[in-house]
């Protein structure tokens, strides 16, 4: 009798403990799925090595005004906050921005001043996120914020930045990164990237669109964009969400394909690992040809994914790409990015890819703004310079980048579509504007007069 009672107690205990652990895991995977919502994804190490070799001849001296002369002036303190927790790590972004600043500092700095980047991390805890911002401003005395990329940072801190008169350059995820006056992002984020993916499949004239994403806070905000685009095209759309991590991808893939029908399209908004398990499940079940097209938002733009999928998906799967694809691009900016990554980016673990591209781009914008300052580098002068950035050609985006005094900011609203081709992501469609059918895009164009 006692043994039985003990066994039942043990059973209930085990269920409770694992339930709590699962929730903790979901927290991590929420973050994973927020990482789906994450700025983007990286290319493979294989790509990295190839590209590095091509860029070996590229010089990093062009990142500063005085090649080979280290800046010795008073440091300009800037801050960055990135999410870092098990399963979700955005620190490649601030690390790459740090690498860019290191290159600038080694080649003359900004008007003779080196930039000191204070890099903080947060584990998706609101209190920690708020504390990070306060520490940067009050303890580290940063005069500007550039390089933020966090699941919740914009949501938690946007009011604080407004109060402090900080204009933040970021790679955003949360709605507040795009809909508030003091934050402007170099990336499009999950909603507008999903818009891009849906917009591409709509151009293939499907009979229906199935949009599936991670079941995390903010899905309603993201889903509104694809819904508007499909509605305007008079194509029915089914919105699905999946708990992550996905334990039974076969069933998820089957459900998507059954819902879409033979002439339909399936669009995913997940992190690369989650998207990969769904696509591989579809492949294993022979479902890749059961719909007209498959598509995905930016996180799927990774050679990791292209390599894992193989040739069966050639011309069948289309991915929105927020930044200029690095593999086929041979511009001075792209070569500088690769050279800096090679020489200064030892702590950028993902190598070449969207994360490091974003860090590089934010570094470029910040330096461009700082160079315009003639007097002392104060909170006021630096943030005024940040918000005054207008029409800056980063070389990493389809369009010049603008901050501006607007109530909302979606400066990156034109993008590429890529597709896997024998283990690599190649460009399928060049720069294409996200449709103003999405009311937020329309509101931005109206505010920016673009």
């Amino acid at each position: 009798m006692f043994q039985h009672v003990r066994r039942v107690r043990l059973g209930l205990f085990a269920i409770a403990v694992l339930g709590v652990m699962l929730l903790a895991g979901c927290g991590g995977s929420n973050s994973s799925s927020s990482s789906s919502a994450a700025p983007s994804a990286a290319s493979s190490s294989a790509t990295s090595s190839t590209s590095s070799s091509t860029s070996a001849s590229s010089s990093t001296s062009s990142c500063g005004p005085k090649p080979g002369v280290a800046a010795t002036g008073t440091p300009i303190p800037l801050g960055a906050i990135n999410t870092k927790q098990p399963g979700t790590d955005f620190t490649d972004i601030e690390n790459m921005e740090g690498a860019y600043f290191a290159c600038v500092n080694a080649n003359g700095g900004v008007n003779g001043h080196p930039i000191k980047l204070y890099k903080l991390t947060e584990p998706t805890q609101p209190a920690q996120i708020a504390a990070d911002a306060t520490k940067l401003v009050q303890t580290d005395k940063v005069v500007g914020e550039s390089g933020n990329s966090s699941i919740l940072e914009c949501t938690i801190n946007h009011a604080y930045w407004e109060k402090q008169n900080f204009y933040v350059i970021a790679a955003g995820i949360a709605p507040e990164c795009y809909s508030t006056p003091n934050i402007a992002d170099v990336n499009m984020g999950p909603r507008y990237s999903s818009d891009g993916a849906v917009q591409y499949v709509l151009s293939l004239h499907p009979s229906k669109v199935v949009f599936d994403q991670s079941n995390v806070p903010g899905t309603g905000y993201i889903a509104a964009g694809p819904a508007a685009l499909a509605g305007a095209a008079h194509v029915p759309i089914t919105q699905l969400t999946e708990n992550v991590p996905i334990n039974d991808a076969n069933s998820v893939a089957l459900k998507e394909v059954n819902d879409a029908g033979p002439n339909g399209a399936v669009v995913l908004n997940f992190t690369p690992p989650e998207a990969l398990v769904i696509l591989q499940a579809a492949q294993k079940l022979g479902l890749e040809n059961r719909v007209k097209a498959w598509a995905c938002s930016t996180p799927c733009d990774t050679d990791f994914l292209a390599q894992a999928l193989g040739s069966k998906w050639n011309g069948k799967f289309f991915v929105n790409a927020e930044l200029t694809p690095p593999d086929p691009t041979n511009t001075p900016t792209m070569n500088l990015y690769k050279a800096i990554l090679k020489q200064y980016g030892s702590d950028v673990s993902g190598g070449i890819g969207s994360f490091s591209q974003m860090g590089f781009t934010m570094g470029e914008i910040a330096v461009h703004a700082l160079e315009s300052i003639k007097g002392p580098y104060t909170t006021q002068s630096v943030n005024q310079a940040f918000v005054n950035v207008k029409g800056f050609d980063t070389g990493m985006l389809c369009q010049p980048w603008t901050f501006g005094h607007y109530p909302l900011h979606i400066p990156n609203n034109t993008d590429y579509t890529v597709t896997p081709q024998d283990g690599k992501m190649v460009i399928k469609q060049g720069c294409t504007a996200i449709s103003s059918v999405d009311p937020q895009i329309a509101a931005y164009h109206k505010a920016a007069g673009s």
Partner: protein
Amino acid sequence: MLLTSGILGLPSWQDFQPFIVTGISLGAVYALSGVGMVVLYRATGVLNLAFGAVGAMGALIAWQLINKAGWNQWLAYLIAVLFGGFVTLVYGMVFGPALAKRDPLVKATATLGLTLILLGVMDLLWTSSGGASRSIAFPTDNDTFTVAGILVEWTNVIALVLGLVIAVATAAFLRFTKLGTAMRAMANDREITAALGVPVRRVEAAAWFGCGVLSGLAGVLLADLVALDATTLTFLVLSTLAATLIARLRSIPITFIAAIVVGTVDAMVTPIQALSNYRDMTPFVLAAIALLIQNRRRVIAVGRQGV
């Protein structure tokens, strides 16, 4: 019926069929895991909550050996299985004796420590930064046949057959071999069994190693069938645990059947729109129902005996 179908968005029977196929194959691997957990519990009284984490790390090691070191994949899988056996054995030998007389809750909680350590190590060594995603593919993934309109890989069949074979073999082992009998005796009373001259440490070591080997095997299979992701594989133990609880941590055949049921029901809930987002509750719900029913029967039986 039509009303229920309309409210819940029930698909047709034809639409359900492929989900049954995928559910059975997943349930088979749950069964494989469940057998390992039950054997260990019966021999040592330890509910090994690190089962999934050990398997996950073994699978990631196999991926590393195949993709980064260029090893033959079968050799890499063997290393993964042996890693599972080794880590579990070491844990059992180091912490088993110290915890032998503690409450089963304490023993189970201790294995959570191993789970968290392994999760941390995996996160450190196989980071997901920069969009890294990994996968394992058996050669048998390419050989397929069609059932209910979907392709079924031979890997699915192997998982099902392996689950069945291991369940039968383990049940026979426990019943007919000297070591198996010793394990069953230890489950009843460790001290009396030791007093009778059974080499308790050696028997426990065999149970820990066997459980670890099965965790390695399940980890590699699940990495192919589900996903090669540390968190996913670690927490898949939840579905397995439900099956073992339904079997009251005792019966190997019931564990096998319960695992198949958990996998199948979980998959079949997916196409039902109203329930799809709650499908992760399936193992909890099934285990809770089973525990309630078993407890009710027990109360009735005890009541009849007048105890």
